[in-house]
């Protein structure tokens, strides 16, 4: 009747887990290579529109030839009334506001120039070639975007990018 007798000699041989770290490291390296670091979550809420045939900006990001600015609804809905059309401009994660100008588009020029000055000399590019990427919410009125365009035109930052979500190029 030893069929149900417990093994008195305890557990079997230990499972060799020596190669587990190797496996995990491999996974780790995969993710390090395949992903890019997340930008800080913007201070405004943004739902981007869709579009076809977009350009991937990764190459420009890697060479840091691109500055992002965000336009969207402020996270705190009660603040929305403070802004023209209810949309706020966020530069470097700070919502721009001043007493007289409600969404402070004129700060864009200042911000662009300071970005340029902060860069080390070997990475400096002509301001006309550095892309200014506008990430705006679907419902942003075009008026705000054109106001920012005017600001960029004044400092000769000619290159501009309108961010969208690529909805794929497959045709049905």
């Amino acid at each position: 009747m030893s069929k149900f007798k417990k093994n008195e000699r305890g557990t079997g041989p230990a499972l060799n887990t020596a190669s587990l770290p190797d496996i995990v490291f491999m996974l780790l390296f995969f993710f390090m290579v395949a992903t890019t670091s997340k930008e800080t979550d913007p201070a405004v809420k943004i739902k981007q529109p869709e579009g076809k045939r977009t350009i991937d900006l990764t190459a420009f990001k890697q060479r840091s030839e691109i500055d992002f600015l965000y336009i969207g609804k402020p996270r705190n809905p009660s603040r929305a009334e403070d802004f023209k059309f209810g949309f706020a401009l966020s530069l470097d994660n700070v919502v721009q506001a001043s007493e007289d100008e409600l969404y402070a588009a004129q700060k864009v020029a200042e911000w662009k120039l300071s970005k340029k000055n902060k860069k080390p000399a070997r990475m400096k590019k002509d301001i006309g070639d550095v892309i200014t990427c506008i990430k705006a919410d679907k419902n942003t009125p075009a008026g705000i975007i054109f106001e920012i365009r005017d600001e960029l035109e004044k400092i000769k930052a000619w290159t501009i990018a309108y961010a969208v979500v690529d909805k794929g190029t497959k045709k049905d």
Binding site: L28, S37, K52, C133, T159, A163, V164
Partner: protein, 278 residues
């Protein structure tokens, strides 16, 4: 003294450490890419003569979006034609047509009377035939203009010098074109879109960014289509592949950069975005 055995290092927690690192990377990174449409803001040119210049409607592809997010396309007969958001996708078709219709009629010397009639009647921009040689002449002309400026009296020279940079830019452009045409076409004639042809996107202050982006998307789709067709016919490669390589590294993929420049020259996308101020 007896050799002391080195105790084995316990590597059991190595996996935990690696997992922690892995999780950190999973949380702080993202896989989605930033996608966008890149546009150039055109430089303002101070024009001296402000008299009304006649604009040939065939050279403008006019897309107008009003404050209620409705689209209006200029009809080929010059009349306003409302396009509802439902069939916004047709813009790329119309724009494609606008680009290619007159391309076959580029060489005026080879046109039959019927072709000429067709070309004159339709409302699409005209193509002209030019070759590397023509651009050599353009360049020489500009140089002679610069020499003329030197001869002017002091007072008038200042005014003319302001135009110098503009003229210089023109020379650069002509020279670039000449080089590319020479390399890829030799002395053959090349169809060139009228330099006045442009796409005009007009929006209102309250037009939503979604519609604006949608228009950009349609324009990009049409431009991509004409360029891709040309690129495949000429180089047997997709436009996307050529452009992708050139963006990644201009020096390493020098040939692709040249191909990209050539295709963009053959089908320029002059996009003008305006918001009329009242």
């Amino acid at each position: 003294m007896a050799k002391r055995e080195i105790p084995e290092i316990n590597a059991g927690s190595m996996a935990d450490i690696a997992f922690l690192l892995l999780l950190f990377f999973l949380v702080t990174t993202t896989m989605d890419k930033d996608q966008a449409y890149i546009r150039k803001i055109p430089e303002k040119i101070e024009k001296k003569n402000t008299e009304n210049q006649e604009i040939d409607t065939r050279n403008v592809f006019h897309i107008y979006a009003n404050a209620n997010n409705e689209l209006i396309l200029k009809d080929r007969n010059g009349k306003n034609k409302p396009v509802f958001v439902k069939d916004i996708e047709s813009i790329s078709e119309l724009l494609y047509e606008w680009y290619v219709t007159n391309r076959e009629f580029f060489d005026a010397e080879k046109l039959t009377a019927a072709d000429k009639q067709k070309k004159a009647e339709n409302q699409f921009p005209w193509y002209s035939a030019s070759s590397a040689n023509d651009y050599r002449i353009v360049k020489e002309n500009y140089f002679s203009q610069i020499e003329d400026i030197e001869k002017l009296p002091e007072g008038e020279r200042k005014k003319q010098e302001e135009n110098l940079t503009m003229i210089y830019n023109e020379i650069q452009k002509a020279e670039e074109k000449r080089k590319l045409f020479k390399e890829f076409f030799g002395d053959l004639k090349v169809p060139e879109l009228s330099d006045k042809a442009h796409i005009r996107i007009e929006v209102q202050e309250k037009t939503s960014y979604e519609l604006f982006a949608k228009i950009q998307s349609e324009v990009e789709e049409a431009v991509y289509r004409v360029r891709d067709e040309e690129c495949r016919a000429k180089f047997g490669e997709s436009y996307e592949a050529v452009k992708g390589k050139a963006i990644q590294d201009e020096e390493k993929y020098e040939d692709d950069k040249k191909k990209w420049d050539l295709i963009d020259l053959l089908f320029p996308a002059n996009i003008i975005e305006v918001l009329p101020k009242n």
